[in-house]
């Protein structure tokens, strides 16, 4: 049923969460406009929809598929699972899936659901917040707990309307986010959504990572490819990725363990995951966001430090 991709073999899923009016739909539209050249499926409305709209973007022509579900009830049916099966069964399955969760969804739950579905794997949870309304919503009698859950479950936080909101509101929202989700990067939603590599992660399913930013540097992020000098134990790789300096929000790619196994490594925000993969070229894409100068400086320095790092001093046998 599931498509056989090189590498991890599973289609990565990014979950876009956020309460009503936070700016999710704007972000999705921006992402679709910027996502030309990759096969990206967008599922709107995570759960329970009788019909799920999916926009499938490939190069310049967009197709919309609608999956009508003959589901019986919430206990028996699962529309999200059905929609994912539908995507996996397409003649050309998507390379990446973005799920725009409903405003009342608890993202941790949908992340487990989609990430655990056969043929799919969770890439990241991104939560959008509107700086003008975040504090009031996070304290609301009915949805305060939900809004805080959505922030706490995020790997990446996106501030929408950052250009329109008053600076004091943006600063206040940042402080609130930092308190609820310490260590999670806070990105500008408009910029991140215009950069699929940043929001959805780089495409690394091929034998070679695709060339990233393209001819001109992207306004929102910078990236570099780091080729590990030799085999690395999974636990060591986990430490390496976790220790990447602040502007680097994402890392994804393949490495080989001392036992000769290929592994997929990725970092999204503060979360690092290492999973077994089919043989693939060894290379890790690093992506940094933030002010252009900071990120352009950070990447070469990080790569130089990585190249100089000791890899041999860990126990080769402690593969995860």
């Amino acid at each position: 049923m599931a498509p056989v991709l090189p590498g991890s073999g599973r289609i990565p899923v990014t979950l876009l969460s956020g309460y009503l009016g936070a700016g999710k739909t704007t972000a999705v539209n921006r992402l679709l406009a910027a996502g030309a050249g990759r096969r990206l499926a967008v599922l709107v409305n995570d759960f329970g929809a009788v019909s799920v709209d999916a926009a499938l973007i490939e190069a310049r022509d967009a197709t919309t598929i609608s999956l009508a579900n003959g589901c019986l009830c919430c206990a028996v049916s699962d529309d999200l699972g059905g929609a994912l099966d539908g995507l996996a069964a397409l003649p050309e399955p998507p390379e990446q899936v973005l799920i725009e969760a409903s405003g009342v969804a608890h993202p941790a739950r949908i992340a487990r659901m989609a990430g655990g579905w056969p043929g799919f794997a969770l890439d990241a949870v991104a939560t959008v917040a509107d700086p003008e309304t975040l504090r009031a919503r996070a304290a609301d009698k009915f949805v305060g707990r939900l809004v805080r859950d959505q922030v706490e479950a995020a790997d990446l936080l996106l501030l929408s309307r950052a250009d329109l909101a008053c600076p004091a509101a943006v600063a206040d929202a940042r402080a609130l986010l930092a308190g609820l989700a310490p260590g999670r990067p806070v990105l500008d939603a408009a910029e991140a959504a215009a950069a699929p590599d940043l929001l959805l992660g780089p495409l690394v399913s091929g034998a070679q990572p695709r060339p990233l930013p393209g001819p001109a540097p992207h306004p929102a992020f910078s990236s570099r490819i780091w080729t590990p000098p030799g085999p690395i134990a999974p636990e060591r790789m986990r430490e390496i990725l976790a220790a990447l300096p602040a502007p680097i929000h994402r890392a994804k790619g393949f490495f080989v363990t001392p036992d000769g196994a290929t592994m997929l490594a990725q970092r999204a925000g503060a979360r690092v995951e290492i999973a077994p993969a089919a043989p693939a070229a060894t290379a890790i894409v690093l992506i940094a966001a933030g002010p252009a100068e900071t990120r352009e400086n950070a990447l070469p320095r990080a790569i130089a430090e990585l190249d100089a790092a000791p890899f041999q001093d860990t126990r080769p046998g402690d593969a995860a």
Binding site: L20, G48, D79, S102, V104, R109, K141
Partner: protein, 551 residues
């Protein structure tokens, strides 16, 4: 067979009319399915002198009540469940079997083994419902393998949120072991699939559960169960549950025949499943259903909305201090979206039924109702709080002040009262779930429902819980919130009719109403309140026709 246009006089040991002006009678005259008059053979004289009639004394030893009404259940959901083998901690009485209480792991495994041995076809999957860890302990894949290594065996947990499967079932579901190993909510070693992991199991089970033949067989059992409980009217309170075309065809085939001894009042969803962020009510769809109305199947003015999640699944939204384990409930719709849809329905003059299980869900419904009343006051609007699991006494007064009604699932007290006291919300709040005594004290019109299959579709059983508040262990829980017998019997007859907006047609025995009766072996006002649920339901009369209980 008597001429239907002729008058039939049914005499009975006693008739409890549920009409306070004329509460007790011994004879009722019926013509063309309607009541001409209820009273005594003497008071009926003017009718009988003027028209030909027959006297039918087949109920001479029985007690007649108005046909029972369950204003909130789900035939479609029940049709999926009833074909399963029941092994339950509490007794479930069904028309074709009784599932006795099974309260230990030993007894559970013995019963499962017995059911397995009784199945002829070795390939037939054995799906059993009712398993609960509190009573049955941790039943594992290996234990099920020991019952059968060939037959797929699936334990479906009581609240539907977990299954346990043996190896044959995992193969039958078409699942790859690697997918189970990496799933955070599947335990491959024990065969347990829970929460989001359950979706994987359901994907494999659905083709079996929803197979047309099984489903129509299930609806046949639902039909029997509804009759067996003594109902003559039910409310299907969230249509559609499935895809409309298929579900309607199945329900029409099963529930619209001349042999069906009850009518179904449909209350459509105000927003279809998944419309979490709805911009407004879909009035064209809602109003369009009425074109399908038949004699037995009818859409009226009611519309269903939801605030918070399920009570058995502990997904209700609870006010501070919340749940003991710190988990959080769910909203079924964004509160703003709920308000938008409710406002459209309110302005369209609809009767709004709102599923509210936790006290924060009730709070949202009441806050919105208060704003709607401020914007455009309505009287006799019958905004109804459905389920009413947790509430506060202050909310009950507010329900009264805002003119709202309640349709309560009181079975929560019986099945979950002690479990939620111990594990979920503590004693104080658990003992006041389904706060019926307060509703009665404040004079709020209240119906009782089963939400079948959340509770057995047995109105006398619901009334028994309401009047006694006996929890699973036999202890009384929340004695102050007990309902009087009168109020409980009204809650399954005339007050249930009122909640459905059908009080002029059904719900009491008086001149002009449908001749719907429930035939009882004993008088509920004469038995010990603890024996209420044991009163035999001998059958029903639906629109003048007698449908005796089977067997």
């Amino acid at each position: 067979m008597t001429d239907p246009s002729q008058i039939t006089v049914f005499t009975a040991r006693r008739i409890r009319t549920m009409n306070r002006s004329n509460p007790v009678a011994t004879a009722v005259a019926v013509r063309d399915g309607r009541i001409l008059e209820v009273g005594t053979p003497e008071t009926l004289r003017p009718w009988l002198d003027a028209h030909p009639h027959t006297v039918d004394d087949r109920f001479r030893d029985a007690v007649l009540m108005p046909g029972f009404i369950d204003p909130h259940l789900h035939p479609t959901l029940a049709a999926i469940l009833l074909p399963c083998h029941f092994i339950t901690a509490l007794e479930w009485r069904l028309p074709n079997r009784v599932s006795p209480p099974v309260t230990s792991q030993e007894a559970y495994m013995a019963r499962l083994t017995e059911i397995e041995a009784g199945l002829a076809d070795p390939a037939e999957p054995l799906i059993t419902w009712g398993y609960h860890r509190i009573w049955h302990g941790a039943v594992t894949r290996e234990m099920l393998n020991a019952v059968s290594s060939e037959r797929p065996i699936v334990l479906w947990q009581r609240s539907f949120h977990e299954v346990v499967a043996n190896d044959a079932a995992i193969d039958w579901m078409g699942l790859d072991r690697a997918d189970l190993d990496r799933h955070p909510q599947v335990e491959p070693s024990t065969g347990r699939f829970f929460e989001t992991g359950l979706s994987l199991a359901m994907r494999g089970m659905n083709p079996h559960l929803l197979a047309p033949q099984r489903f129509s067989g299930g609806l046949e059992l639902v039909k029997q169960a509804i009759h067996w409980g003594g109902h003559t009217t039910i409310g299907e309170l969230a249509y559609p549950l499935a895809d409309d075309a298929g579900e309607w065809a199945a329900l029409k085939a099963a529930l619209d025949g001349d042999d069906v001894p009850f009518r179904t009042h449909f209350v459509p969803r105000g927003a279809l499943r998944g419309a979490f962020d709805a911009q407004g009510a879909d009035l064209a769809r809602i109003d369009g259903y009425a074109a399908r109305n038949t004699h037995r199947l009818r859409f009226g003015n009611g519309v269903k909305l939801f605030t918070d999640g399920g009570f058995f699944a502990e997904l209700m939204q609870v006010q501070e201090p919340g749940f003991i384990d710190g988990h959080h409930g769910e909203w079924m719709m964004a509160p703003e979206a709920f308000e938008r849809v409710a406002r459209d329905l309110w302005h369209a003059g609809k009767r709004i039924h709102v599923h509210c299980t936790g006290d924060l869900g009730v709070e949202l419904a009441l806050d919105v109702l208060e704003r709607l009343q401020f914007a455009r006051p309505r009287f006799n609007h019958r905004f109804t709080i459905e389920h009413f699991g947790l509430s506060t006494p202050e909310q009950v007064r507010r329900i009264r002040d805002l003119g709202a009604l309640v349709s309560a699932n009181v079975y929560y007290v019986h099945e979950l009262g002690e479990a939620y006291w111990q594990r979920s919300i503590g004693h104080e709040r658990a003992s006041s779930m389904s706060r019926l005594g307060a509703l009665e004290r404040e004079g709020v019109t209240t119906a009782l429902h089963s939400d079948f299959t959340m509770a057995p579709a047995l109105p006398l059983n619901s009334a028994w819980v309401a009047v006694n508040r006996v929890a699973e262990s036999g202890a009384v829980i929340g004695a102050e919130e007990r309902m009087s017998l009168d109020a409980a019997m009204r809650a399954i007859t005339i007050d249930a009719a009122y909640v459905l907006g059908m009080e002029n047609e059904i719900g009491s025995i008086r001149a002009g109403k449908a001749a719907d009766f429930t035939v009882l072996g004993e008088d509920p006002w004469e038995v010990d309140p603890m024996a209420l649920r044991d009163i035999p339901v001998l059958g029903t009369v639906f629109e003048g026709r007698h449908f005796p209980a089977a067997g």
